[in-house]
């Protein structure tokens, strides 16, 4: 303790280059991506494990968003460090930059939804995509959604989707390229430029993430609305992003890289961020959203939560409350749990698992169509007591492992081409000296 400043960090190639073992892991990740996505698509599409198209497409949406939130969390970390001119984080910024850099190609994983749209079956997921079919099938819901079609229509949906992907690609690319070019020149102006653009980035990031959550998740139940939904989804991004960053950094140090650069002080701070945003803030926002809807008791709003209370979903909701908040809150509250790489990494894996549960809980349940005809909650609960969550269906896991494999392979590929730390960042020395009180 206290002597980080007395010896200079080892910036030799061995220490700040991706260890060879990681490249082998990249091949495994690519194989998982191909097998997971290909197999998941084949099995899910043919319904071999008993999944209907609705389940399959929702499962793929969950898997896609799981990968996307990991990368968006990385981008959030990067621009916040520049926005606050943080010194401590320089030593662990490059993995986050590489993670965010996946946003340059992540749109490819969204292309299947375009195919779904072209096949004319978009209403498998988003019922508002075919208003005529909805009017014939469920005129009450159609009546509620009709006024929203100025926003929820296929043309505007795709214009927005393209805009989100463009924004994320440009932003992540800007921070990644700037940071890498500083490795050569060490030009302080590059840091200043990144700080200058961090503020507009925050605005663009906030808006794009919020509206993407509205478009892709909230509009699955288009009659429902919650103004907090974007923030809730952002918490998911933070959970996934920080957990992934922690795992990358822990793994790199295990493989012998970043010696004398990344210390327990950095682990503790990354742990704090995951604890604060991914666990506490998530619960805060999740509860605020629930309580307002519960208190107001407006039928258009409560249906969404009722769908998550009936049948197997009731247990699922509690599992989420305890697994995403109570247990990790107590488990990671101590500074020592965040400082030890092993316990921190276990916490990160745990949080990633429950981030998946969270997305599953957001996307998979469907509001019963006859909910408006029920006389009371008991009647609804009895009628839908057998609702299954289908959480353990292998298709779910094949698809999500496929997407994660692609993101991991992309991240390792990016990291293999650059130094593992922004070695000429003007605040690099400050980051090496960093200590928590």
């Amino acid at each position: 303790m206290g002597h980080a400043s007395t010896h200079a960090a080892d910036l030799g190639t061995q220490n700040i280059q991706l260890p060879a073992m990681a490249l082998g892991f990249r091949k495994i990740a690519l194989a998982v991506a191909v097998v997971g996505l290909g197999g998941g698509a084949a099995v899910g599409y043919t319904g071999a494990f008993g999944t209907d198209p609705g389940h399959f497409w929702r499962a793929y949406l969950i898997a896609f968003l799981f990968g996307l939130t990991m990368c968006l969390g990385g981008l959030f970390f990067v621009f916040v460090q520049h926005l606050t001119r943080a010194g401590w984080s320089v030593a662990v910024r490059r993995p986050a930059e590489a993670l965010a850099a996946n946003l340059r190609w992540i749109w490819i994983l969204f292309v299947p939804f375009a195919v779904l749209w072209m096949m004319g079956k978009a209403n498998t997921l988003w019922v508002w995509a075919d208003m005529n079919a909805l009017r014939a099938e469920n005129p009450v819901e159609a009546g509620l959604i009709d006024p929203k079609t100025a926003f929820l229509n296929p043309t505007f949906f795709w214009i927005r989707a393209v805009a989100y992907f463009a924004i994320w690609a440009v932003l992540s690319s800007f921070f990644f390229r700037s940071s890498v070019s500083q490795d050569e020149s060490g030009d302080i102006k590059i840091s200043e430029r990144m700080q200058k653009f961090a503020a507009p980035t925050a605005i663009l990031f906030g808006l794009s993430v919020t509206f993407a959550a509205f478009d892709w998740i909230m509009s699955l139940s288009p009659a429902w609305f919650s103004t907090m939904f974007g923030v809730y989804f952002f918490c998911g991004c933070a959970t996934a992003g920080f957990a992934t960053m922690i795992l990358i950094t822990v793994r790199l140090t295990q493989l012998g890289a970043l010696k004398g650069i990344v210390s327990r002080e950095h682990f503790q701070d990354m742990g704090k961020l995951m604890w604060a945003f991914g666990i506490v803030f998530w619960a805060y926002i999740g509860f605020s959203q629930y309580m307002l809807i519960w208190y107001a008791n407006v039928p258009e709003e409560t249906g969404w939560f009722l769908a998550r209370q009936v049948g197997g979903w009731g247990f699922f909701s509690f599992a989420l409350l305890f697994g995403h908040f109570v247990f990790p809150f107590l488990g990671l509250i101590s500074k020592w749990m965040k400082r030890a790489p092993l316990t921190l990494a276990l916490g990160a894996v745990w949080m990633l698992c429950f981030h998946y549960v969270d997305l599953y809980w957001l996307i998979m349940p469907e509001i019963p169509h006859d909910i408006g005809e029920m006389k009371n909650y008991g009647e609804l609960a009895t009628k839908y007591a057998d609702t299954a969550t289908h959480f353990t269906n292998p298709v779910n896991f094949m698809l999500v492992l496929g997407v994660v494999g692609a993101v991991v392979a992309g991240t390792i590929g990016t990291l293999s081409r650059v130094a593992l730390v922004p070695k000429k960042d003007p605040r690099f020395a400050e980051s090496l000296r960093f200590e928590n009180m």
Binding site: M1, G2, H3, F287, Y290, M291, W294, Y295, N297, I333, S334, K335, R433, E435, M437
Partner: protein, 206 residues
Amino acid sequence: MATTVTNISDTKTEQPMPQGAKLYGLIAEFETPGDLMAAAEKCRDAGYKYWDCHTPFPVHGLDGAMGLKRTWLPWFVFGAGATGTTVAFLLQAFTNSWDLHIWAGVWVTGYPFLISGKPAMSLPAFIPVMFELTILFSALACVKLMFLFNGLPQLYHPLFKSNRFRRASNDRFFIAIEARDPKFLPKATEQFLRTLDPVAVEAVED
């Protein structure tokens, strides 16, 4: 003030103390945090117990250099937080109660109001208050216990007598070893402090 020479000087007679004064301890002055840190490590290794460092600003890593033990404060704060949660729940449960509840243990009739048709015992409505009281109790416990553990507020301290020590709040770094330390011997300790390469060593009276 003490008017007799104390036990310490009686038994450890290498350095006669002036009559009418009791030795509080010895202070060593350093110019930089680095010097202080190195000296603190040696003090720690020499096995002194009643000693402290005085710096104009927080010095990172000094805890380790001094060999300070982990504080118990977080456990008390956690306990206070859990108490806050419980108190808030009980407060709301009692005030909303219609009638005798077995868990209440006493006959209570609170001030139950029918609010938007919710049951009197509505946990979601209680949670904001439980959350706030958790924070209030933890924050108050944290600040108050921090003061208590540090012996604050303390309006007088023997070190205030030393003119040299005034610079501890400006630009100098001090180590003070108290005379009550079992390993303290006025002359030996003074020699030990001199080996730490300080700017000056000074005896401070109690």
